[in-house]
Amino acid sequence: MSADSISVIRVHDVLLITVPPDPDDETIAVLQEKVLLAMQRFEAKGLVLDISTVETVDSYFARTIAETSSMVALMGGNTVIAGMQASVAITVTQLGLTLGNTRTALDVDRALGMLQTAGLRRIQ
């Protein structure tokens, strides 16, 4: 799966990125850069990384996710990881990895919901 195939979708002021099923290291690196540049261009306040089709999260991938989410935080945005498969969650934990402080959601709908609510709270 090549880096070109990664699509960035805007949902109001949130960016939704669907990570391809089995990305190579290069694709993951490109994805990170693409996400950060898009956050800036669209002045997005949040990022949802949909990893529901991803079958393998190894330490390189986990580190890049945690790193991306702290970069987004530096820019003032929130990141939510959506749809991690059960087998991936089991493996990641056994491997001893964490995603840093990145928030998680069962699916994209709920992830978008979390960022909306967070937004509303901030406005009130």
């Binding site: 089995d22 190579d24 290291d25 290069e26 393998t56 087998s87 089991i90 056994q94 491997l95 001893g96």
Partner: protein, 138 residues
């Protein structure tokens, strides 16, 4: 399930890690591992293949099905490289130990995910790491 249960794949750079994962996924599935164990095995080889790329540049992965009473019973996967070797294996197996600014979770994590791991290494000669996972008795 009596067909040829072994194979090998060359690792010449990071872009080969995807093929390593794909090959291993199919092998583990055909041996009869369930979805969670397949994920554990594929993740472990992803770590070990990346180590070959990072520390030795190139190497080879070999895999074979393990039998018990001529029935599929597990998988054995070997990574062989002719890189610098690991000077202190105990240290390398420690959670968080890294010489590359990585997370230092690859070796200890792969052992936990697979259950069995053996490391043969000689400085200046290279490293051979063998991991094994058995189908659960149930």
């Amino acid at each position: 399930m009596t067909d040829c249960h072994d194979g090998q794949i060359n690792i010449n750079g990071e872009s080969d890690i995807v093929s390593v994962r794909k090959t291993t996924r199919e092998a583990a599935r055909s041996i009869g591992f369930g979805v969670t164990d397949v994920t554990r095995i594929v993740t472990a080889v992803s770590e070990l293949a990346r180590n070959v790329c990072l520390y030795a540049g190139t190497g080879v992965m070999r895999w074979r099905g393990l039998l018990s009473h001529s029935k599929p019973a597990g998988i054995e996967i070997t990574f062989e490289d002719h890189g610098p070797g690991i000077p202190d294996v105990d240290q390398a197996m420690r959670q968080g130990f890294t010489t590359s600014g990585g997370l230092g979770m690859g070796l200890p994590g792969a052992e936990r995910l697979m259950g069995e791991m053996e490391i043969q290494t000689e400085q200046g000669k290279g490293t051979t790491i063998t991991v094994r996972k058995w189908l659960r008795a149930i």
